[in-house]
């Protein structure tokens, strides 16, 4: 059929046999699951063997664009990576910007499926219809920055690169997949690529995409662009400060955690977005994005003179900053640079280091355990050296790069001290200071994550905010956001645009781009978001997830915040989770009910998988 919005083809590469196949995109899948995360859920649920080892050849990687990826729609250049994740042993999906997604579509493909595993390091080269696997021997062992630079020099600057660094090659569950400074950061996707001996994917396309109704789509594109330009968020604060725009607000509301979630304040003045922005050289945008939230930061003097990164992002400023009781911005830039180079998830790596500092201060670990590094609060030398050890997986870095859950198990006394959910390290929001965030963490499909739902927006950032400490309406907000975010992560749009645009603006973009009847109203699209989340839930249940894992570390219930605006607060997430299950039409064990599966058209699928 003639496709609009979509490129219309699925590229599948089996690394074991080397076979490369190109298939027509399935129209039913497009109407039911939209793209991106939805495609990943649909494909992995049907094809991944239950209980497979994430680092075995049985695991698959699905790279999926959305119908808007590559179009002129503002902030539409996103790409999803879906797989079974090694950090949680459950569902994993990551969303990244940059240019790789649009380029894949210009080459003619909506989806790239990678199965099997190669015996020697390989890379995949895609030039329109010409798709081939070539040896990556000479790139194996190199960091992501060097790999990307060399591949772009070899093939051409307009070729887009996605690759892993040493951390992925060495199978760390903290390893990211990097696409030219944008990251599929969380959950260890880099290790899955490493286990398949797939060092890099290089793509160049020469085509374009058609819209179903060009004139109407152009009108909605202009409306969306105007809305983004006029918003105080996407039109002003985010272009200026990037994600760091959150620093002051999170500090002011007591949500920004410090010292491994032990405190909400540090001595002296907190780090603000203004201070971080002094290191910004200029802005860089992802493809087709007017928001330009990415910043190129440089350190121009001092010990880390020359350190360079795209960022640092709010989460990194927290992970290597407050979380480790560090206020020195150049070391944060250096830490992010080193993480990007090795292909490490900066959120999890910073989280681990803060956890190690907490263990050190309590006497649970000593210099004997740390190759001589002194993990006192704020010791930046130890922090940077630890990142290197984790990236190279040398000495104690071997264990550290397994993540907080693993370390809790092997460091005597440290049980319960780590900040993680289901094995994925928590990001930069204290759940005691945002009750809805506690629920969002507990019910996130990939573990401790703020990008399945970020309800802080409804608690403090809107007119008539819900407030941080009431429990009312929190399950509704979290469920609503999860369904909306999953839809957005399936569409190709960026969440930062979706924070500003309304469904009444987003739905026509999808309708006029694709012309598919299944995607022609806000109601149908939100239902698709719910369908995707429900299928991912079925995936996770099949992988052994149980309701008792839908929680957050117990210390957030037992240990009140000792200081700051939310002093004395704790959170008991259990009652929120029960209410959330009811709202989702899941039973008390967190299993979707038959009625729900029928309503969403998933009953047959669920039954087929249980046979």
């Amino acid at each position: 059929m003639e496709w609009s919005g979509y490129a219309g083809k699925v590229l599948e590469v089996d690394l074991t046999s080397g076979s490369i196949t190109i298939n027509e995109l399935d129209r039913d899948m497009a109407e039911q699951f939209v793209g991106g995360k939805g495609f990943g859920a649909s494909i992995l649920y049907d094809r991944l063997p239950a209980g497979c080892d994430p680092l075995s050849p049985e695991n698959m990687i699905v790279l999926a664009t959305g119908p808007l990826t590559g179009t002129s729609v503002a902030a539409s250049g996103r790409l999803e990576l879906c797989t079974k994740g090694p950090a949680t042993n459950l569902w994993l999906d990551c969303n990244a910007g940059g240019s790789f997604g649009p380029e894949l579509k210009y080459a003619g493909y909506d989806v790239l499926i990678i199965t099997g595993a190669a015996s020697e390091p390989v890379m995949l080269v895609i030039e329109d219809d010409d798709v081939r696997l070539v040896s990556a021997d000479e790139y194996w062992g190199q960091d992501t920055l060097e790999t990307s630079r060399r591949l772009k020099a070899e093939f051409g600057g307009d070729y887009r690169v996605t690759c892993i660094g040493q951390a992925g090659e060495l199978l760390s569950p903290l390893a990211s997949v990097q696409t030219e400074y944008r990251s599929f950061g969380r959950g260890g996707a880099g290790a899955v690529m490493g286990s398949k001996k797939l060092k890099a994917i290089v793509v160049n396309g020469s085509g374009g995409l058609r819209a179903a109704d060009s004139a109407k789509l152009d009108m909605m594109i202009r409306e969306a662009a105007n809305e983004l330009a006029n918003s105080p968020d996407t039109g002003s604060a985010r272009p200026e400060f990037g994600t760091n725009v959150l620093l002051s607000l999170m500090e002011y509301t007591g949500i920004h955690p410090n010292k491994n979630f032990q405190q909400s304040t540090l001595e002296g003045e907190p780090v603000t977005e203004l201070e971080v922005s002094r290191y910004f050289d200029r802005s860089r945008a992802c493809f087709a994005c007017p928001i330009r939230c990415s910043k190129i930061a440089r350190v121009k003097e001092g010990r880390f003179k020359g350190a360079f990164t795209e960022g640092p992002e709010y989460e990194t400023v927290w992970a290597f900053g407050g979380h480790c009781a560090n206020k020195d911005i150049p070391t944060i830039i250096e830490a992010e640079h080193v993480c990007d180079a090795y292909g490490l998830d900066a959120v999890s790596v910073g989280n681990v280091i803060g956890f190690l500092m907490d263990c050190w201060e309590r006497g649970f670990i000593t210099a004997e355990d740390t190759a001589g590094l002194e993990f006192t609060w704020g010791n930046v030398e130890a922090m940077i050296e630890a990142v290197h050890l984790m990236g190279k997986r040398e000495g104690p870095g071997m264990d550290w790069s397994m993540g907080v859950r693993y370390l809790e198990g092997i460091i005597p006394g440290a049980a319960g001290l780590g900040g993680h959910v289901k094995g994925l390290e928590l990001p930069a929001y204290d759940p005691r200071a945002s009750k809805a965030m506690a629920l969002a963490y507990a019910t996130s499909d990939r573990g401790g994550c703020h990008l399945r739902s970020w309800p802080i927006s409804e608690e403090v950032m809107v007119q008539n905010p819900l407030g941080q400490h009431t429990l009312e309406f929190k399950p509704e907000v979290v469920k609503g956001q999860q369904d909306f975010y999953s839809l957005i992560n399936s569409s190709g749009l960026c969440l930062f645009a979706a924070f500003v645009l309304t469904m009444e603006q987003i739905a026509p973009l999808m309708e006029y781009a694709t012309g598919l009847p299944g995607l022609d109203s806000a109601d149908k699209l939100i239902a698709a978001g719910e369908r995707i989340n429900t299928l991912v839930r079925l995936f996770n249940l099949r992988e052994g997830l149980t309701a008792d894992q839908d929680t957050i570390p117990d210390r957030f219930r037992t240990d009140p915040l000792p200081d700051g605006p939310c002093k004395g607060e704790t959170v008991d997430v259990a009652q929120l989770v029960s209410a959330y299950y009811c709202l989702r039409e899941w039973d008390s064990e967190g299993r979707p009910t038959e009625e729900l599966l029928n309503k969403l058209g998933l009953a047959e699928r669920s039954a087929a998988s249980q046979q």
């Binding site: 630079r149 374009g208 330009r292 190129i296």
Partner: protein, 128 residues
């Protein structure tokens, strides 16, 4: 005439999408654009576009006299042999090649509407 400010460019390529849409009706792509942001990753590269230079290197270089000047560079497709000499002659990188037909692509100002300038969110391109 387009003036570029390289340091303001964020590499979003909305100008390239707008240029493609203006000349290839209904097509969403950055690949058919007459304005081009060079990829110099990890830095942001220069913006290449016709600067309406006085010397008109491309017009002078064309062996078939297929290019002329009428407020902007005009191509006579009947005379053009798609040899690419014009593209090589331009020191500003302002002449690109159509990825399908092979004809040279030079800024035609969109009849003075400059749709690329309207699309730029960062003020990196403007009318001179």
């Amino acid at each position: 005439m387009i003036k570029t400010r390289k340091t303001e460019c964020t590499n979003c390529r909305l100008c390239m999408l707008a240029c493609t849409a203006a000349h290839e009706s209904g097509l969403h792509s950055s690949k058919f654009s007459r304005i081009h942001i060079e990829d110099a990753w990890p830095e942001i590269g220069a913006i290449h576009v016709c600067v309406s230079c006085a010397k008109q290197f491309c017009v002078e270089a064309c062996p078939e006299k297929a290019l002329s000047w009428d407020g902007h560079v005009v191509l006579d497709k009947d005379k053009c042999t798609r040899c690419g000499v014009c593209s090589e002659a331009c020191p500003f990188g302002g002449v690109r090649k159509h990825p399908v037909s092979g004809y040279p692509l030079v800024c035609d100002t969109c009849n003075g509407r400059y749709l690329c300038i309207k699309a730029c969110p960062a003020g990196a391109i403007s009318r001179r």
